[in-house]
Symmetry: C2
Subunit: 302 residues, 2 copies
Amino acid sequence: MSLLVVGSVAFDGIESPYGKEERIIGGAATYFALSASYFTHVNLVGIVGDDFTAQDEQIFRGRKIDTTGLERASGKCFFWAGRYSENLNERVTLITELNVFAGFNPRLPAKYTDSKYVFLANIAPNLQGSVLHQVKRRPKVVALDTMNYWIERTLDDLKETLKHIDILVINDSETRQLSNEHNLLRAAKHIFKLGPSALVIKRGEYGALLVDKYGVFCVPAVPLEEPHDPTGAGDAFAGGFMGYLAGAGKHDDAHLRRAMVYGTVMGSFTVEEFGPRRLVRLKSKEIHARARHILKLSQFKL
Amino acid sequence: MSLLVVGSVAFDGIESPYGKEERIIGGAATYFALSASYFTHVNLVGIVGDDFTAQDEQIFRGRKIDTTGLERASGKCFFWAGRYSENLNERVTLITELNVFAGFNPRLPAKYTDSKYVFLANIAPNLQGSVLHQVKRRPKVVALDTMNYWIERTLDDLKETLKHIDILVINDSETRQLSNEHNLLRAAKHIFKLGPSALVIKRGEYGALLVDKYGVFCVPAVPLEEPHDPTGAGDAFAGGFMGYLAGAGKHDDAHLRRAMVYGTVMGSFTVEEFGPRRLVRLKSKEIHARARHILKLSQFKL
């Protein structure tokens, strides 16, 4: 079933100990859509400036990604630049230019309004809510990402939007900030009262946790000897997770667990190279091999 | 098969947001022995002062723990006091009094010298080495724990002892410090050149990693809603790990994986209450139930 994503399509400037890219295509919706497109058809809603050329848009061509919802505005694309520390576990933001993103008011093309799977990437919570209102029937699964910026500045809007979503996909520090609870199990219980019935906690090199009515599921991160650039890994994780669910059309415990694994697979490939470079040239065979690798990493018999 | 452990038997003063204990029995060898005794027979080598009463020693009675090797010296037991932060993820040491431990020169009772499984808990590397020299034949498995103190102060001694051990059981920061490598896979390769053929990395709330010739195995920590006191959890982990291997008498890939799981089980129980209180009243049924819980936490099918 087709999957709707709304979020940023941007250019990034990235510095890590492994190299430097002055300007490479990025944005949460970009990573999400590329990742999810290996599993299902993706409808993309976002905004780009007139510096986003036909050649840039090639990144979405030849994939199961519909860009009818990618609005063109006069001005420049959202631009972010950052520098990662020696060990890639910290980063400083050097530049954030909202540009056309500042005036983003997402509008769904008519053909997107019956989406059954929806992912609201990290944008202002009121915009996430407005996207959801434009979907005609209650989707089967709505998931949402957010960040400290919105938790601190627009908490009421965020709480309003959270009432209508199923799965919150955030990192551990955001989980703690939103719930005012350090303990992740207690944090999950708090968050369930806000609306979501499942919480996916991304923990970077420590893997990811799913907490829901079935209990807790832990998936390890894939240990990599040469990670190059963590940019977009969380969004690629979300893309693999939601893409797998939408492709399967089910979200029972077994499917949610596999979705966590495919999210981990897609996140792990993403960090292997700068920007979405590794993500755009994956083969189905590689994806399944890495999922089997995660099985081998974590399986045991009693 | 019987398992030899050498390390500290001590008293601890512990403060956490969940309470305070002025003086509770502790020490790495105590936690290790109690934990391992659920799986195999343990021979304990350590030193206590004359403040260690017959009643204190009751903690080892009625278990598969031989204390012939527990030396009595005139003076006081090793004493450590510390305070945990709000979230239990940081601690400050308030008091360290070596007392009789300062003059510890471990001597193995004759009946311990044919040990097949040996665990050298965190003490001076030259003492760890001297214990190993007293064992008559090369044991089947020798594992060792150490800490930043020894890595910084007695690196040459540590490297000498590491030549003779099979499994290094340390935490992630110690792994990075010993190898000068942040990346844990590269760190493991470095450590394998020093002697060990397997590395067990304890990551607290993030679980544990085993890296060896079979590859990597990740086991998640058991998510707990009400952890009370992390003291001794790493030693109880090591006790479950080595206890399981010694009890099984095998250390192939399947057994090493299960040993990681039982280590995790024992560590998770330990943090539930202050000191070794939870550890001393475990039932076999509880241990196996928690191992099945970890299976449920981490299992998936592709």
